[in-house]
Subunit: 472 residues, 2 copies
């Protein structure tokens, strides 16, 4: 392996991932175990993802709020399932202002407890409902095994928390978020196809009646849970004494949903589109959609082209650094996944043309300067489509419908991809598959036709189609 | 006082402030002492302030980054002045993941220690400089006396941290941020006039050689430090072992700046523009710049007008709530400081006109529907100018240049406003004024002409003009 080459994905995917995160300057480890410094390039991608999510969260009628990060330990403890789910992972503040605190404070691992305690003061009548709120926040979960972006002790996310008059309305909300916020962002912006489905009971969020998920397949054929949306029924309202006077004049508990997507999406983006040469960024989340590299004394032409493209709304970087050789620039932008590179040499200036290279396929083409303002945006749109189509083709090529349990085990244990098959609903069958392959049910797809007549594990009648996979 | 009236500013400014924060639904107290829940209306204002700052931070060449919130206590402890300044205020995590931690972790009160520890790995050569980075983050400082937005144990802010090859460049950076980011946002967007100046040694940020500040006057004639920008010289580079190879081939320490503005700006906005009827929001940071109130059965007209105004880029709310009476709506939007209210009744629909009321002055005018798309944006621009002009006139009317120490004491001790006068530079004179009035030197204005021949306190030659005031 040359000094500049990345590990090959096929040889060692985790090593490839760690190395591309570092070499594309996305992030590095912080001083406290499991924490992460997100570098400027990674932060710029996150801001674009954030904007895409936030626009959709607002377009579906939600408003942002800001809740405190610290809560009394007793507040979290009121909800038994939350405590059971998160107590092993929380970070606890026991001293502040130079004194031992009378009651320890928990750094939020998630905010249901904090927010539902507060909602008690905000909800009196059915007229106060629904509450459709979201917050952008950092949370801390003391994970044992961490990996940059995918699982870090502190991460950034949005968490939506809504309150509704009826269960049906809460269920529609959870589904709407899955479709109109998450799937729309992940497919339409991150260019990653998603499987939408329900979690089986063993994979649900603590206290949830139902957890909906967007599952994606990455390039080592494993699954990544990209975003989840939960229906809690009335459990938080009961725990935190939230009631409202209904249309019938009686007091009732409102219904809760919560839903979150995090910096983990950046990890998904890297793993779903990257190749042996580095990142491949969908134009919609590329901090630079096009890089112009002047070769020789063509700076002023490059700068003018850059301005023209910016007027078309393209995010352009003109890389006129003196101290970096052209070859190094080519490799850097390839590694960083910039969708389009535009080289401008003296002969090009004379001919009035530039050499345009797409990151998503081999080869290059010559385009006249005058045509660039029209051609580059349409190239970018095509790259966005192509990356999605590539990822979809990859996933579908590795989504199997085996006829027998042994065939399923063969696919899963060998990391061949996902298995789609019938499931009887019994946790024992889920457990049997896991014991044989380490694979879990990623979801019970929402679009599951009643194709699967029998459970792949036990042969009894299937109650649902299920997708199994090894997961991050 | 009627149930709906606010306390009068002149009677009890702190009570007015607390009540308007609550009644305009900006924020409320969190469950942990000194923490704050920012409600949707307050969050929407903050997002507009944030966007204004972020646009300017990027326009001046900076990139955003994300650093972890938790740092080893020993990391903060390396810098003696930081420890001295912040140790009494930090919150400390001693347990995590179910175990006592070997080394306690500090929740960041500010990030110089974390960031300069990391910069050690990012800076090798003068070619790596400058580093021009900013982060949006939450910080925790265990304050004894808290007040919503102005001083809370957790607050949101941006903190810029830059590294430079020369001291002169760092000094230009600190000044540029003061002018092109902070003053430009606070005056141009928040419509609050600022005094730009240096802090005296006693008011500087820990470890800073120089602290530049934007000071504003609010409606009780006190000062609010709205944003600060610090020149640290080489102190952090020395403490955290950051060196680079200079153009001369020798190793040298880079120069640091840091600069921050926080959710405190919302408190400033409330205090600088509010009146006895509630908030008065500058249109640039008003979540709704215009509210349309349909009176009687005029919803469809109101909705159509709303759409037309939105096409002009106006943020419009059509308040068609059935369950709220019109009078209550008028009071609510007045209290919430919406710049323009547009009432549409059946007679107005017949006449093709609307009644338009500005929040910044009494009275109203009748405007034809057809003229609204042109008139409302120009009204909003006028309101933005008027609020700034009002605040400037108010400040200038309460900025005194007394001839004697006794006159200065008279102004300050009675809460009359700011005093501008010569200062010899001796901390004893600063202390003498503080003992007599509780006022501090808010800043040594950058535009100070050498007018002040003598120190107002001791009569010796002045080295600087100074502005004194009581401060939040």
């Amino acid at each position: 392996m040359s000094k500049n080459a990345l590990p090959r994905q096929a040889d060692d995917f985790p090593a490839w991932y760690a190395e591309i995160i570092r070499r594309a300057e996305l992030a590095e480890h912080g001083p406290v175990r499991g924490t992460m410094v997100i570098r400027p390039y990674g932060t710029a991608i996150w801001e674009l993802v954030q904007r895409a999510l936030d626009d959709r969260i607002k377009a579906t009628g939600h408003e942002n709020v800001v809740f405190p990060m610290l809560m009394p330990a007793s507040m979290l403890a009121r909800e038994a399932e939350l405590v059971e789910g998160f107590a092993p992972e929380v970070a606890v503040v026991t001293r502040a202002g130079g004194e031992e605190l009378a009651e320890p404070l928990v750094v939020r691992p998630t905010s249901e407890a904090m927010i539902w305690s507060t909602y008690a003061g905000w909800i009196q009548s059915y007229r106060d409902l629904p509450l459709l709120f979201n917050q952008w926040a950092n949370v801390v979960r003391w994970e044992l095994r961490t990996r940059l972006f995918l699982r870090t002790t502190e991460f950034l996310w949005q968490e939506g928390h809504t309150a509704h008059e009826t269960h049906a309305e809460a269920q529609r909300e959870a589904r709407r978020i899955l479709d109109d916020v998450y799937a729309d962002t992940i497919e339409g912006v991150l260019a990653i196809p998603v499987l939408r489905g329900r979690k089986s009971a063993s994979e649900r969020f603590p206290a949830a009646l139902d957890t909906l998920t967007c599952e994606v397949m990455v390039r080592d054929r494993k699954a990544l849970q990209a975003a989840t949306s939960h229906d809690f029924g009335q459990s938080f309202a009961r725990t935190y004494d939230v009631t409202f006077t209904g249309r019938d004049g009686k007091r009732a508990h409102p219904y809760a949903t919560s839903w979150g997507a995090s910096t983990r999406l950046i990890g998904g983006l890297v793993m779903a589109h990257g190749d042996d040469r580095g990142l491949r960024l969908p134009p919609a989340v590329a901090p630079y959609q096009a890089v112009i590299v002047p070769i020789g004394d063509t700076r002023s032409t490059a700068a003018a082209l850059g301005d023209e493209l910016r007027r078309e709304g393209v995010r352009v970087r003109v890389d006129d650094r003196d101290e970096v050789r052209e070859g190094a620039k080519f490799h850097e932008w390839e590694r960083k996944g910039v969708p389009v590179r535009i080289d401008v040499g003296p002969r090009d200036v004379a001919a009035g043309t530039a050499i345009v290279t797409r990151r998503d396929r081999d080869g290059h083409e010559t385009i006249a300067f005058a045509d660039l303002p029209e051609r580059i945006p349409s190239l970018l749109a095509d790259i966005q489509r192509t990356l999605f189509a590539d990822a979809l083709a990859f996933r579908d090529a590795h989504l199997f419908a085996p006829a027998t349990f042994d065939e399923a085990v063969d696919v899963l244990a060998n990391g061949g991809g996902f298995v789609r098959a019938g499931w009887c609903g019994d946790a024992a069958c889920e457990e049997r598959m896991k014991a044989a392959t380490r694979a879990t049910i990623r979801c019970l797809p929402l679009d599951a036709e009643a194709t699967a007549a029998a459970c792949i594990a036990c042969g009894r009648p299937a109650v649902a189609g299920a997708v199994w996979g090894l997961a991050y």
